[in-house]
Every structure is written in C-alpha cells, then in structure tokens.
Symmetry: C2
Subunit: 212 residues, 2 copies
C-alpha cells in the first residue's frame, strides 16, 4: 500500500491540495481506462481523456505532466485492483488440501473479470518511460510473489508435497500466466470452453506437476 501511494506522489502537480489531487486523478483514471481499452494508448488523444473526465485540457495538465503519466496512473490502478482481489482470495483459503484449487479458481475468475485491463497492461507497458515500466514490472513480480508465499505455506502445512524452491517459483509464474492466457487467447478459447471448464482443466494441469 505505501508503495502505491508513494508512486503517485512522484508525479508532480501544480495543485496544492493533496486530497483534490487524489480525487481528480481517480477521475482521470476512470475516464482513461475505457478509452485505452477501446482505442489503445497511442490512438487516444489527451483531449479525449480530458473530455471524458469532464475537464478542460488545461486542467488535465494541472494533475499530470504528460500523457504517459496518465498511462502510468492507469497501470498502477489496475495492478492495485488485481492485487487486492488476489490477496483477498489467498487469505480466504489459507489451509487444506483443496486450498490451491480454490485459490486458482478465485484468481482465474479475477482474470476473467478484468480481461480487458490485463490485456491493456500486456500491450501498453512498453509505451511507458523506462522508469515507470520498471515499476509496473515490479508490480507483476509482487503479484506472482503472492502465489509463491501461498504455495510455500501450503507445503509447510503438509497440504502439498515438498518441492524445490525454484519449482515453487516456476509454478507460481505458471499459475499467473495461465490466468493471463485466458485473457489473451479468449477470442479462441471461449469457442471451446466456458471459464469454468477452463479453470477445471487447468487446475488439473497445475496439480499434475505437484503430484496431486
């Protein structure tokens, strides 16, 4: 949480009142997300963002120094939302033999729901200035780290067979990416599987390695 707050504070602003800044930036993000999803970052103009927010262009530039700033705010917000959901899910299923399956189910459901947002991050991270791209990638690592911790805890409790550290890490990455796979191959997968089919099959796949 402190990370996210600090990162927002890093974007300079002309406006003095910090609460106003936070509120306005939330408005900007809410307006920009659907635009970026629909047209992509490059084909969305700052004027469109301003209009969708209900701002004049001048006002937009009081809360943001560049168009890239807006993209960064958007990426941060998306990651925060995903991380919040995943954290919730992981804590709801702390123990037991079926905890992993339940966690996967919850995480994949989040991916299903946030389809467009996850796609957006895959496609536009490269448009960020290096300094912020790094931040966004750190968010991605932290998210996978949540699964690493969860897996380690289950193994410690004897709910999963023992694994080497590097295996745990890779399984965590696989879970993360197979969730994303539903978003970026959905145009094809959804012809053959419902999201529930998909979760069931992939859960079997993941438990396969773990000797389940």
């Amino acid at each position: 949480m402190p990370t996210a707050t600090a990162s927002k504070r890093d974007i300079e602003t002309q406006v003095k009142n910090p609460e106003l800044v936070a509120r306005r930036r939330r408005q900007i993000v809410d307006a920009a997300v659907p635009l970026f999803i629909e047209k992509g970052f490059h084909k969305t103009t700052t004027r469109q963002i301003a209009a969708a927010t209900g701002f004049s262009i001048g006002l937009l530039y009081e809360y943001v120094r560049s168009k890239e700033d807006v993209l960064y705010l958007v990426c941060e917000a998306i990651h925060q939302e995903v991380e919040r959901c995943v954290n919730d899910a992981l804590q709801r299923h702390e123990r037991g033999r079926d905890a992993l399956a339940a966690m996967i189910h919850e995480y994949f459901t989040v991916c299903h729901r946030m389809n467009d947002h996850i796609l957006l991050i895959y496609q536009e991270t490269q448009s960020l200035p290096p300094h912020w791209r790094k931040r966004v990638l750190e968010n991605e690592v932290r998210l996978t780290g949540l699964f690493v911790n969860a897996l380690a805890r289950l193994i410690a409790h004897g709910d999963l067979p023992k694994l080497t550290e590097e295996s745990i890490e890779l399984v965590a990455h696989n879970i993360t990416v197979l969730g994303h796979m539903w978003t970026f191959r959905r145009w094809f997968l959804a012809r053959h599987y419902s999201i529930e089919d998909y979760i069931t099959l992939q859960t079997g796949f993941i438990l396969g390695l773990l000797g389940g």
Copy 2:
C-alpha cells in the same frame, strides 16, 4: 504456403514486376523489424523505415499503401519463420516416448531465439486494422494446431496416454504459451533459470498432466 503468398498479393502495389515486389518487400521487412523492436510501431516513422531500407519515402509507398501494411508484412514474416522452425522440429521427432519432450525442447529454443519477434507480435497485433489482425490471429491458431496434431499422433501410437480431445487442445495451448512466457517474463526468469533449466522444469510440468 499458398496462404502466405496469397496474403502478400492482397497488398496493392504500383510496381508491375512481381519478383521485384517480393524482393523489395523482403528488404522493407528486414529493415522494419529491428526498428519496431527497438522503438515500437507507433514511434517508428515511415521516413525511418524508408531510410533503413535505403529507399526514398516515395519508393516505400510504391510497395505498400500504408504504415500498417508494413506492420502486417512484418507479422506475416515472423509467423512464417516460427512456423517453419516448429514444423521442422515436429517432423524430426515423429515417434517414441521422448518425442514430446524433444518437441518442447525445440519449440522453446525457437522462442528463446526469436524472443524479440514474439514480443513484437504480442504488443503490436492490436495496432493492425481488423482485417489483418484476424489473419495474424489465424496464424497463431495454426501454430497451436501443429502441436494438437503432434500430440494426437503420439497418442495414436501409444507413446502418450489417452486424453479427451479438449484436453489435447488445451495442452497444446499451454505448450505454446509457456514458450511465449519465456519471452515476456524473461527479464525476470533469466535471473533464476537458464533457458535449459527452464525447459527441463517446464517439460516436467507439462508431462505431469499427461501422467508421464
């Protein structure tokens, strides 16, 4: 092969000599690929593409009707190259208990080598006009289809346990995407695993589901 040739023929050109068109377009692709990889499609200008090819801008537009045409040519060329390699690999290991592991090894090695190209397709496919985006996605499906066929053949020969059709399909997607995962998480994974480590671990993972 007919597909690829036909698709190129679809791009109109002012130039009459078809061999010249083919040669010039190959030059354009070769020049554009590193530019797109380095700066992305939107931040590369048509003038830069022309200069890198050794053409005047005017000449570039004799062989291509728009900047998006160039992107499409690039995506086609990349897919052709990947498909060629994968086809080779699949035919080299037609049978036997270890055929799947060998195929995975070859495919992941191709992904490793074509890292930047695969990333490019992930990031820029959305910048294509719908008609061509569809074509590029069809290429993606065809590639996964190669794995479906290979898996089915191995199962028919008794080299792999029987699976439902939908399981085969999903395993094929997983193989495809776990190969891609090395490219778009390499910035992190390469800190912990060499490509060989990665292949070994993931092969175990994939064989897990198949009861290997």
